[in-house]
Amino acid sequence: MKLKNSIKEKRQKRSLTQQELADLVGVSRQTIISIERYRYKPSLELGLKMAHVLELDINKLFYLDLENINIIKPIEKTEPTIGSKKFQDFKKKDWESLWNNLKK
């Protein structure tokens, strides 16, 4: 799972340089470079500042790379059943044929 962002694209759209964006959010140019290259994950405060400066929603600026994500699904609640499913199937389908076979 990797935190990605579209800062470079959005910054270029607004024709801002890395230094200008850095000055606007109060960090160094190297920090902006690191964030754009996904080397450094900014704090929530810095992320919100960037979103504010670029006039975007933070969800559009930062997103998770969902390709390699392992989401743990919540356990589905099922009603308790008596016996295993296989045994139930056996009862339904095969009791009659078994009985017929025994009769023979």
Binding site: G26, V27, S28, Q30, T31, Y40
Partner: protein
């Protein structure tokens, strides 16, 4: 040919590394000599004064040149604090290991004299080696983090 883009912060770190290396080359042989030959106090004091003068001249000239070259002020942000905390953590760990090693070295040797622990002159040399060594490792790690993280 592509040029390496180095920031002002990285140059500050390189200056620290250069100072440590110069200190090892210029001054440590004297303290090593002191640990063997037991030089007089006045000789040691004059050397310490030399070290102080050298450090003041070195840092004032390099920092002045740097300020002339890079006029923009350094902004310290959250990434700097993160890198600093990582490097100080590493240097603290190395200091601890070295100090335990030094204590073990002195307890193991015949340093218990006259019902007390008596350090010989080699302690100054060993401590200087540890300080400069840790400084070089810390600065190198800091530089590595600035370039890669």
């Amino acid at each position: 040919m592509t040029s390496i883009n180095i920031s002002k912060k990285e140059i500050y770190i390189i200056i620290d590394i250069v100072f440590s290396i110069l200190f090892i080359i210029i001054f440590l042989p004297f303290f090593y000599n002191n640990s063997i030959n037991h030089l007089t106090n006045s000789e040691v004091i004059s050397k310490v004064i030399q070290v102080m003068i050298f450090s003041i001249i070195f840092f004032t000239t390099t920092y002045a040149l740097l300020e002339i070259k890079f006029k923009r002020k350094i902004i310290k942000d959250e990434r700097d604090y993160l890198i600093s905390s990582k490097t100080y953590k590493l240097s603290y760990l190395i200091y601890n290991i070295c100090l335990f090693w030094i204590i073990g070295h002195y307890l193991d040797g015949n340093s218990f004299k006259n019902n007390g622990l008596e350090f010989d002159d080699s302690i100054i040399f060993i401590l200087l080696i540890v300080i400069t060594g840790v400084s070089i490792v810390k600065s190198s790690y800091q530089l590595y983090l600035y370039r890669t993280s």
